[in-house]
């Protein structure tokens, strides 16, 4: 039986220091540290240049394999191109692509020149894209031609975007203003490249996340995040030299970069990427074909696999799998038990978020698993639950409080982009509060309870009700809107909207569909209300504020609570 990297959790938490990772990465305080270099050049210098780094499969059986040396040279080539068009250190470059190899290589190439890489989920609609580009004052966007249409629709009002780089331009239609074609296949490979001398606190990645109020926030990370991303990958995902690893997350989200690029490649691990839509059969076939050993996925996908049944599992040989983990939303105990039964290994839950940059609470190989629990703090992470008044640790076992972490781990966000004020509100009484509630049992295991705000977690992605409500008001028929989550068997929660219509518009299935599609195109499929309820009035306080709380309680069958501030409902 394979010895796990972490060994004994209890032994690891004694005398833990992040210097363990620093030593393994040959890093000393004050040195240059560049994630792009660590994921490519360093691995080649360790003699693994010919090792497969990426096995990529696109739809219809298209396949590519890249070695670590290919990663090194191709990221150099992209870095050189970006420099030549005038991208400088700390300029923001957005990656807005399908999960094609260029996405991964551009991420590394951008970091190598010291630029701040801003990955965005390619299913975002034009409004979602625009507000994130404007907020970051993004200078260049790298995309594939499939998504150029969305960019063209916002380019006129975009003040800062200077370059639209298309990686698969086929010459069939002329390029438009600010568009440039770049093809890795046709570019001169760059063997030698001067990597920007980034330091620990140099900014690296800007991921956007939704807030309860206001616009999405850009979470700023730095190159030093590598330290905890490297060690959590090694100890929690337990990646070992001959593993074949599959992280199903899209690099438009933080899991796809922290554990879909930085973690595995800084360890010199072979990873697989499947760039096609979800299908249980296709996923199992992919695992079988590439002999995937370690699989990091999400509860929504796991529940969808459960729904697909066991017959499709029996049609495949999945015996290569040896370790499974999950992230994005709480992993229900049924899914843990089911995975142990059908794969021979339980999916182990991990808890963290965009702002934390790396895993915080997790289950570890070899540790007793309590299905439904998020596990225990990673060594070096000081965690607790606090009350919501004085924000002091709750000593009572099993009592629900706000999850709290002592700041200072390497991958912690450094600020929200251009929004230090909101960043500061995340800290209370010396603790960082991620906004989730939990209890801790008598053995120190954390049990997720729910969000402490109105944010909707759908399929592991956060959606701001405020953003959806604002977009709804831009629809010609809508007078007022309120957005809450409603329970969903697969996605845990989905978006539900309550709307009142302007005079002259009549409720009905056709207008409901029009509104759904309006939001899908404007924001994203995730933000599209899966149900719209037409109401005459929305519940409001006497001061006119919409009481989302009442609507949420109705959807979840909860007690409505205090309604003393509710205006008369006539």
């Amino acid at each position: 039986m394979l010895m796990s990297n972490i060994g004994s959790y209890d032994n690891r938490i004694k005398d833990f220091s992040w210097s363990i990772a620093e030593r393994e990465l040959d890093y000393q305080e004050g040195n240059e540290i560049n994630i792009g270099w660590y994921c490519t050049d360093r691995i080649c210098q360790m003699g693994k240049g010919d090792k497969t780094a990426l096995i990529w499969e696109g739809f219809g059986g298209k396949e590519k394999k890249l070695t670590f040396n290919d990663l090194r040279v191709s990221s150099n080539t992209i870095g050189k191109f970006l420099r030549e068009i005038g991208i400088e250190a700390e300029d923001r470059i957005c990656l807005f692509m399908d999960k094609i190899p260029e996405l991964y290589l551009s991420f590394l190439g951008g970091l190598k020149i010291g630029a701040i890489v801003q990955p965005l989920f390619s299913a975002f609609g034009e409004e979602s894209l625009f507000v994130r580009l404007e907020n970051a004052q993004t200078k260049a966007i790298i995309t594939n031609k499939k998504h150029v249409g969305k960019i063209r629709r916002i380019i006129e009002k975009s003040e800062f975007l200077e370059h639209i780089i298309i990686v698969d331009y086929d010459g069939k239609k002329p390029l438009k203003d600010r568009e440039i074609a770049f093809s890795l296949e046709n570019a001169e490979p760059v063997e030698e490249f001067q990597i920007h001398p980034t330091k620990a606190e140099s900014p690296s990645v800007l991921h956007y996340t939704s807030g309860t109020t206001g616009q999405p926030k850009g979470v700023k990370h730095v190159h030093y995040s590598l330290i905890s991303q490297y060690l959590t990958t090694k100890w929690v995902l337990d990646l070992q030299d001959d593993d074949i690893y599959w992280c199903t997350a899209d690099p438009g989200w933080v899991t796809g970069t922290s554990y879909g690029i930085i973690g595995p490649w800084s360890l010199g691990i072979t990873q697989c990427v499947l760039d096609s839509g979800f299908s249980a059969g296709a996923w199992y076939k992919f695992i079988q074909k590439h002999n995937v050993t370690v699989w990091y996925s999400a509860p929504t996908a796991i529940r969808a696999l459960m729904k697909a049944g066991e017959d499709v599992i029996k049609e495949h040989n999945l015996s290569s799998l040896r370790h499974l983990a999950s992230v994005g939303e709480p992993l229900n105990s049924e899914a843990v038990i089911w995975s142990k039964k059908v794969f021979g290994h339980a999916f182990l839950d991990t808890y963290w978020q965009t702002e934390t940059g790396s895993m915080m609470l997790t289950n570890y190989p070899g540790m007793k698993i309590k299905p439904g629990s998020m596990g225990k703090p990673f060594p070096g992470i000081t965690a607790t639950v606090v009350d919501n008044v004085k924000f002091e640790p709750i000593k009572e076992v099993g009592k629900i409080g706000l999850i709290a972490f002592k700041p200072g781990w390497p991958a912690m966000m450094r600020t929200y982009w251009d929004n230090e004020e909101v960043y500061q509100t995340k800290f209370k009484n010396g603790w960082y509060l991620p906004g989730d509630r939990s209890s801790i049992d008598n053995e120190g295991y954390y049990w997720f309870v729910g969000r402490d705000d109105d944010i909707i977690n759908t399929g592991g992605h956060l959606v701001s009700p405020f953003e959806v409500e604002s977009a709804l008001l831009e629809h010609e028929a809508i007078a007022e809107s309120a957005v809450v989550s409603k329970p969903d068997e697969i996605n845990m929660e989905v978006v539900k909207a309550f709307v009142t219509l302007k005079p002259g518009y009549e409720e009905g299935p056709d207008i409901e569909l029009k509104i759904m599609n309006f939001i899908r195109k404007k924001l994203s499929p995730l933000a599209m209300p899966q149900e719209i309820e037409f109401v005459k009035n929305l519940p409001k306080t006497r001061s006119g504020k919409i009481m989302r709380r009442l609507l949420h309680a109705k959807e979840w069958g909860e007690e409505i609570g205090d309604t003393s501030t509710l205006e008369d409902d006539e």
Binding site: F59, D98, G277, F278, S279, A308, P509, P525, L526, M528
Partner: protein, 81 residues
Amino acid sequence: MDDLKNVILEYVIEEYLEDEDEELTFDSPLISGGIVDSFSMVSLKRFLENSYKISIPDEKATPEAFDNVHKIAKLVEEYTS
């Protein structure tokens, strides 16, 4: 049947296809091909229900059943007949 398939195909092209140069047929994989994602599938289902005055049970609206125009048309026929 072909009329039904054409209506579905036109709707998919109009609503979900991002790449203007991509050509879709009745056989094109929609869900596994990444043209319609699982969230958007809800709006496609709603379109079918509105257009043909039917109700498709959630358990029948699987990614496999929506994976191409042929399969979707078959599903619609099942509930209209």
